[in-house]
C-alpha cells in the first residue's frame, strides 16, 4: 500500500510559461522512457523477483518514480498554465489542446499515448534487472536531450535533479544484478557438483 506526502520530492517553481518546452518534457510523463513507465515496470517486476533485497529495491525505486512523475506533471502544468488561445496557436500546442485542453495526459513527445509495450516484466531476475539498468540509461539520455533544448534555470534545475536520480538508480540496479548473477553462478556450480557425486 502507499501513503501520499503533500510535497514534491524536489521543488518545481516555474514562473514563465513555455508550451514548446512542455510538449517535449511531457515525454518523461507518458513517453517510452518516462517516469510512469519506469514506476510500472519496477512495481510489476517485484512479485516474481526471487530475492528479498531486490524486491525491496524495486518497491523503493518504483515508489520514487511516482514522485518523479508528479514533478514532471508539475513542470508541464506550470509551463502551460493560463495560456491564451494566441499562445496556444503560435507555439503549436493546439494539437494537444484540442484533445486535452490544459489537462495532463500521459503521452510521448510525438503524441503516442503511454503504452505498456514500452517496458518488460519477464520473470527472470537477470533479464529484468538488465531491462531496468537500460531503462535508467534511456531516461538519463532523454533528460540530456531535454537539457540540450532548454536553458531556462527554473526548468533545467528540477530536470537536472531527475537526471541524477537515473544515474543513482542505474548504480543500485547494477548492484542488484551483480548479486542475482553471483547467486545464479553459485547455484549452477552446486548443481554441477551434486551431479558429479
Amino acid at each position: 500500500m502507499w501513503n501520499y506526502e503533500k510535497r514534491l520530492q524536489y521543488p518545481v517553481k516555474i514562473n514563465q510559461t513555455n508550451p514548446k518546452a512542455a510538449m517535449f518534457i511531457i515525454s518523461q510523463y507518458g513517453g517510452p522512457d518516462g517516469e510512469l513507465s519506469a514506476s510500472m515496470r519496477y512495481l510489476a517486476q517485484r512479485y516474481t523477483m526471487p530475492y528479498n533485497e531486490v524486491q525491496g529495491l524495486l518497491t523503493d525505486i518504483g515508489t520514487e518514480e511516482l514522485a518523479h512523475m508528479e514533478m514532471i506533471c508539475a513542470i508541464v502544468y506550470q509551463l502551460t498554465k493560463n495560456l491564451t488561445p494566441e499562445e496556444i496557436k503560435s507555439s503549436g500546442f493546439d494539437k494537444y489542446y484540442v484533445d486535452h485542453t490544459l489537462a495532463l495526459w500521459p503521452q510521448a513527445a510525438g503524441g503516442l499515448p503511454q503504452n505498456a509495450v514500452e517496458y518488460q516484466s519477464k520473470g527472470d531476475p537477470i533479464t529484468d534487472l538488465f531491462e531496468d539498468m537500460a531503462a535508467e540509461q534511456k531516461a538519463r539520455t532523454t533528460y540530456d536531450n531535454i537539457l540540450r533544448l532548454i536553458k531556462e534555470p527554473e526548468i533545467a534545475d528540477p530536470i537536472r535533479f531527475l537526471r541524477e536520480r537515473e544515474i543513482v538508480h542505474f548504480q543500485r540496479f547494477g548492484e542488484a544484478n551483480r548479486m542475482a548473477f553471483f547467486t545464479r553462478v553459485c547455484y549452477n556450480r552446486r548443481k554441477t557438483q551434486e551431479r558429479r557425486h
Binding site: 510535497r7 521543488p11 533485497e53
Partner: protein, 86 residues
C-alpha cells in the same frame, strides 16, 4: 495558511532530510549489512518525523499520519504541491 519564510525553510529542510533518507533506503536495499548506513538512515528518519510533526502543528499536515486532532480539516485546503507551493 499564508506562505512565509519560516514555512519555506521548514519545507526545504523536510525535503532535504526526506531525500537523504530515500537515497539511504535504496542504498541499504543492496547493502543491508552496512551498520553505519543504518545509523545514518535512523538519524535522518528521526529528523524527518520531527520536522513533519512541527510542520503539521504550524502549517497543516503534509501526511495524513501527522494530522493532529486540533487541526481543522486543512489537508485538502492548503495549496497542492504542483501549484508552486513545494
Amino acid at each position: 495558511m499564508a506562505c512565509n519564510m519560516e514555512q519555506t525553510k521548514l519545507l526545504n529542510w523536510i525535503s532535504m532530510v526526506s531525500f537523504a533518507a530515500t537515497d539511504m533506503a535504496e542504498y541499504l536495499d543492496t547493502h543491508p549489512m552496512d551498520n553505519e548506513a543504518i545509523d545514518y538512515f535512523n538519524h535522518l528518519n528521526k529528523l524527518k518525523n520531527q520536522a513533519e510533526r512541527d510542520y503539521a502543528a504550524n502549517y497543516g499536515p503534509l501526511t495524513l499520519s501527522t494530522f493532529t486532532p486540533e487541526n481543522r480539516w486543512c489537508w485538502s485546503l492548503t495549496p497542492w504541491p504542483w501549484e508552486g507551493g513545494m
